[in-house]
């Protein structure tokens, strides 16, 4: 077998197997370097895979050489390619920038463990994305969850601990619900392979267990994806985690759960359950709308910059769900694109926050006055990513807003209502982003600014790069759009 054939496996294995090695690299610089190298390699692999599946083909890899329903197989299609890009990109970027901030927040003797856990989280997320086996997804979900609990718990503030404990409880409940659902489906079909499940669910006569299973899986994954009413763990966890960890997790963690949710509902249930599409929409759309409106409203009144952005993440999840719940190719394209663009925007924002946090201990808005004068580049990057989050034309965020609105337009009578929701959400985004911008630029400084200067160059460069990407993908979004399109087509035809 040539290397390309092995890539899906390597995608997972590279970070996974380098994690234990990192523990042994005692001098902390080495640990960081090793972790970053591994992350970069896996990002490169992800790029290669994305280019390979750009033409809509699917790469399949049989673990241990055992054929599909019996062994575990990995499969990479255009949808997973997008997620791979998001996850590995976020991992690589945040690790690349992480060192100064992490040195500041975590004692050097604990850093090898920390970076190793970080790599584990990365590999877990990647493993979920490429896996084509229901139970294998559970295993990797647990790897990523445990690892993310660890890296969140690295937060210096003591409030990190209750926050992450709550996350642990809710995350485990979610995973167990998922496990129950998978068990019920296995009981009715006798298989764990997703494609095989779909094939065999068709001729299951007693549908009740499958319905219950669908319910369990959807709720469990919604819990992990912080879908609106189940999001309570997000704000604290994001707020008190180490800043770079927030960058990484906010960019990709919940999205992966969302990805599994979409995969299941479209590739397994949609085709087999009678008018599941309708039930799904009826169940998800209200949550999405409520999520957008309420979470944005909360964000408008948050006083702490990280909490504010965390709430906005919940709202953004709502946008993705909204697109998904339209059960149409444009809607799914919009969702897939929004996954990508939001990762860019939110990652950039949190990177900028990390830059600020490197200088400002207290991240409440009223403490950040006059930051722009001292840290012009950071604030500029922040503004750009903020505009992208709002969806101002010329930035990446605009593309997905555009797709979403046009999808809503085509979705029939209730389309205008959805558009209204989307626009109101965007206006709220204008409000909360602008609150931060005014604080940064026009608020009177409170801290003694003698010592405050620009963030370390390492951090700053990555932040700037992400900001520029936000603009680049706003003007030349062809590649992600192509992936999103074929992903949507894939899912829909999977649903037929």
């Amino acid at each position: 077998m040539d290397l390309l054939a092995h890539l899906p496996a390597l995608q997972v294995l590279v970070p996974m197997l380098s994690a234990p090695l990192i523990v042994l690299l005692q001098p902390r610089g080495l640990a960081w370097a090793g972790a970053t190298a591994a992350a970069l390699v896996s990002f490169a692999i992800a790029l290669t895979l994305a280019l390979a599946v750009l033409d809509g083909q699917t790469l399949v890899y049989a673990m241990g050489g055992w054929p599909a329903p019996f062994g575990i197989t990995l499969s990479v299609d255009s949808f997973s390619a997008i997620m791979l890009l998001i996850v590995t990109g976020a991992g690589a970027a945040s690790l690349l920038a992480a060192r100064p901030s992490i040195d500041q927040q975590i004692g050097s003797e604990r850093q090898p463990l920390f970076y190793s856990a970080w790599l584990l989280a990365l590999s877990g997320l990647v493993g979920i994305v490429v896996s084509a086996d229901a139970f294998n997804i559970f295993v990797f979900m647990e790897i990523s969850s445990l690892a993310s609990y660890i890296i969140i718990a690295g937060g210096p503030d003591r409030r990190a601990l209750p926050a992450v404990f709550k996350y642990l409880i809710m995350g485990t409940i979610g995973a167990t619900f998922y496990l129950i659902g998978v068990g019920l489906i296995y009981m009715m079909t006798g298989t764990l392979n997703l494609a095989d499940m779909e094939a065999r669910l068709g001729d299951v006569t007693d549908i009740n267990p499958v319905l219950v299973a669908a319910g369990f899986i959807t709720i469990g994954l919604a819990l992990k994806a912080a879908v609106f009413p189940l999001h309570v763990w997000v704000p604290n966890a994001y707020t008190h985690a180490p800043h770079m960890v927030t960058v990484f997790l906010a960019a990709c963690a919940t999205k992966v759960a969302l990805y599994v949710l979409i995969r299941f509902d479209y590739m397994v249930f949609q085709a087999t359950l009678v008018d599941h599409g309708l039930q799904f929409a009826v169940f998800v759309m209200p949550l999405a709308i409520l999520g957008i409106l309420i979470a944005s409203a909360v964000a408008m009144f948050e006083g702490h910059i990280k909490r504010l952005l965390a709430s906005s993440s919940i709202a953004q999840i709502g946008y993705v769900l909204l697109g998904v719940s339209l059960v149409s190719i444009p809607g799914l394209t919009a969702s897939a694109a929004h996954l990508f663009n939001h990762a860019l925007a939110k990652g950039g924002l949190f990177l900028a926050v990390a830059c600020l946090a490197y200088q400002y201990r207290d991240l409440r808005l009223d403490q950040l006055g006059g930051a722009a004068a001292r840290m012009p580049w950071t604030c500029a990057a922040f503004v750009i990513c903020g505009l992208s989050l709002i969806g101002v034309p010329g930035t990446a965020g605009f593309i997905s807003k555009w797709l979403l609105i046009s999808a809503a337009l085509e979705s029939g009578p209730w389309g205008w209502g959805l558009i209204a929701v989307i626009l109101i959400g965007s206006l709220m985004a204008v409000v909360y982003i602008w609150r931060i911008v005014e604080a940064l630029y026009f608020l009177a400084p409170v801290a003694d600014e003698a010592k405050i200067s620009e963030a370390p160059i390492q951090l700053l460069l990555v932040t700037g790069l992400v900001a520029i990407l936000n603009i680049y993908f706003g003007l030349f979004p062809q590649i992600p759009l192509e992936l999103a399109n074929s992903a949507a087509a894939l899912l829909i035809e999977g649903a037929q």
Binding site: I405, I419, V430, F442, F476
Partner: protein, 488 residues
């Protein structure tokens, strides 16, 4: 250089200029001002270099990127845009001359940021002027909003920030909440958003929706300050005078009315719209705005606020002219953009000059100021007359065309509105002139002379332009007639 590149250069040049200004700002003010001057000069050279191509019917266009099928970033030169671009680039030069005098005379801080953002705003303006389709227009429109925000908030004290918040809030939210859906709607039904002569919506849309879409566009383009979307304009008066000039004369509001005109002409197509009764409301709306704004202006005591409301009224002239939906009126609309630009920029320069020289901001303080600042007040007078529409000023020409269009459409409301507003304009400008020239300044006013030389030079230039436009407007009219060529 070939026109296609010229377009791109015209858009990129100010960006480069902004960068140069930032860098030069590190070295020293004079270098910085030099950078501004050079940029604006070369911009004029590039833009006006496009005129000949246009005159002989060329429509050079260039596509930058295709975001998704049908949705492209593309630029095209056509008469309306050409006029706007030429106007803006020309006035930028004068405005920068004036700004140098003003900013230094006032010892403002952050001048580098000021000039840099100014250049950015110009780049966005060029983009708007040359936009080849709705999306590109929207893109540059938002960029203009964002790049002018720092200018409006220049002073940075709480009051200013609050007003600036109103400015950005109204403009951004209207554009996102109304303009964007209108655009997407257009794209979904027409499949494209390219500006094409005769419109792209003909036959694709039924009657009530036409009115709705038109409304989304008109109110979505908050820069046009059609009531009730005008609140931001008086709020933006906190900005330094050159910025007000930029907002009122050079770029922002012009961008608004320009966008509306362009959409009416190239997206709806005037005949298609003329056929649709549900588009009538726009005319009434504009007329209403004109009258009400003039009435409010009548009651203003602060010079700049008075000018602001007069701007609102004048803008609605353009909108109304466009809404008359007759070729002559369309020409009138474009002419009025130019005319108002010249007149209003003169007035603002004058007001600013008065402020710099004597720190006077209220109307009643102007008693007898004509003796102290003859040049300034002379220019002010010319501007005011142009606003009223008295020959031999620019205002007369445009009003003439608009009236002609109104009669052609035998649209009595328009005619009445124009006459009434002319009276009102006279009612609030003439007293000022009288006060300034013929009344005696009451005792104890502090001694002051003319404003800094550069400022006075600039405002005299614009005043001259106002007069010149009355005499030499042939080529412009000919150019603009191309827009409606072939339409009865």
């Amino acid at each position: 250089m070939i026109p296609e590149t010229a377009i791109l250069v015209a858009i990129v040049l100010p960006l480069v200029g902004a960068l140069a200004i930032v860098l030069a700002g590190r070295i020293g003010p004079n270098i910085r001002e030099a950078a501004t001057a050079i940029t604006s000069l070369s911009l004029i050279w590039v833009v006006w270099g496009l005129l000949p191509t246009l005159m002989d019917g060329g429509r050079p266009s260039v596509e930058v990127s295709e975001l998704m099928p049908g949705l492209t970033i593309a630029f095209t030169v056509e008469p309306l845009g050409m006029l706007f671009a030429a106007l803006a680039s020309g006035l930028w030069l004068i405005n920068s001359i004036y700004s140098v005098g003003y900013m230094r005379g006032n010892k403002e801080k952050n001048q580098t940021r000021f000039f840099a953002c100014f250049a950015l705003a110009l780049s966005a303006t060029m983009g708007i002027a040359f936009a080849g389709n709705l999306f590109t227009l929207f893109l540059c429109y938002e960029l203009l909003t964002l790049s002018t925000y720092p200018l409006v908030a220049h002073k940075g004290d709480p009051a200013t920030v609050r007003s600036a918040r109103i400015y950005i809030g109204v403009l951004l939210s209207t554009s996102i909440a109304l303009f964007l859906p209108a655009i997407i709607w257009t794209y979904t039904i027409a499949g494209t958003g390219d500006f094409t002569t005769g419109g792209i919506l003909a036959g694709k849309l039924n009657d009530p929706e036409i009115g709705l879409l038109l409304g989304l566009f008109v109110f979505g383009i908050g820069k046009a300050a059609v009531m009730p979307m005008h609140k931001w304009l008086p709020a933006a008066m906190v900005a330094p005078t050159p910025v007000s000039a930029l907002l009122h004369a050079v770029a922002v509001v012009k961008a608004g009315v320009f966008a509306i005109t362009k959409i009416i002409v190239y997206i709806f197509g005037i005949e298609f719209l003329f056929a649709a009764p549900s588009s009538q409301w726009l005319l009434y709306m504009a007329a209403f705005t004109i009258i009400v704004a003039s009435l409010i202006a009548l009651r203003q005591t602060n010079i700049k606020r008075l000018l602001a409301y007069s701007t609102i009224a004048q803008l609605s002239y353009v909108v109304m002219a466009a809404a008359i939906l007759k070729p002559l009126a369309e020409v009138g609309a474009s002419l009025h953009m130019v005319a108002h630009a010249f007149g209003k920029i003169t007035l603002f320069f004058a007001a600013g000059a008065i402020y710099v020289a004597s720190k006077k901001t209220e109307v009643h303080q102007l008693r007898g100021i004509g003796r102290r600042m003859p040049w300034t007040m002379a220019a002010f007078t010319i501007g005011a007359l142009s606003m009223i529409g008295v020959p031999p000023t620019a205002g007369f020409v445009s009003k003439w065309f608009i009236l002609a269009g109104a009669f052609e459409a035998n649209n009595l409301i328009a005619v009445f509105t124009i006459i009434a507003s002319t009276v009102l304009n006279a009612a609030y400008f003439l007293p000022i002139l009288y006060m300034a020239w013929f009344e005696r300044e009451h005792e104890g006013g502090k001694e002051h002379g003319e404003a800094p030389f550069l400022a006075v030079l600039a405002l005299c230039l614009t005043a001259l332009l106002t007069l010149a436009f009355f005499l030499f407007n042939g080529p412009i009219i000919e150019l603009e007639s191309q827009v409606v060529k072939g339409l009865s």
